[in-house]
């Protein structure tokens, strides 16, 4: 898939705008990366494993699990074969969340191609003061 710089930035902008407006719980960059990793890559996922792979500190992972667990975006489960480990698992709510994200990316990407990158529907809410 080929993109020009302005198209790439517009895509990014449009999707992030969807995220901001739909005011879902606003997750930090780290949290979103963790969530996506858990859902995209094959289990098992542990705190240490995620910390190493994503280059995020372990406490940051733990806190992210606290927050996203509270939001039911994923859940913890002790590893019974080695009780030091915590396995991070997916939830239905998390799947829905990411499905929505994927939809946003797909729809915004679809608009990109045959479009003038400058004037989209944005000019209807003018940025200039009245």
């Amino acid at each position: 898939m080929e993109l020009k710089p302005l198209e790439a930035l517009k895509l990014w902008h449009d999707v992030e705008l969807d995220l901001v407006r739909d005011n879902r719980p606003d997750l930090s960059l780290r949290q979103i990366v963790i969530l996506l990793t858990v859902y995209l890559e094959p289990p098992p996922h542990t705190v240490r494993g995620l910390a190493k792979k994503l280059e995020i500190s372990k406490p940051a992972i733990t806190r992210a699990l606290d927050t996203m667990g509270r939001l039911d975006l994923l859940k913890r489960k002790r590893d019974e074969s080695d009780k030091r480990n915590v396995l991070i698992q997916r939830t239905v709510t998390g799947s829905v969340y990411l499905t929505d994200l994927a939809d946003s990316v797909i729809n915004r990407a679809r608009e990109i191609g045959p479009n003038d990158p400058v004037r989209s529907k944005t000019s209807e809410t003018a940025d200039t003061p009245s």
Copy 2:
């Protein structure tokens, strides 16, 4: 441009991972949206205009301008014709920041197409405990 759900999520994941790892100053979702809007849409940009368009509160815009101004990602300028207004302007540093972001999106998007969505180079840093 057409994307499948898994491809969309993988693209999002990969780019966000670039952002986390390159540890640039980590901007919040709102901040990135503000930054992108200022650079993608034609000026002038005001606090009130951005707040309305992005559905973000005015104090949040002000704080974002403080932070990103400190990082030299954009700058303020009083509107001389109406001194109540503050015009938000671009900077070289901000352009570089977004150019890097665009590069990341472009490169990650290029990898998407003819690729197996499951096993990429991620498996070399195994997520499983040793």
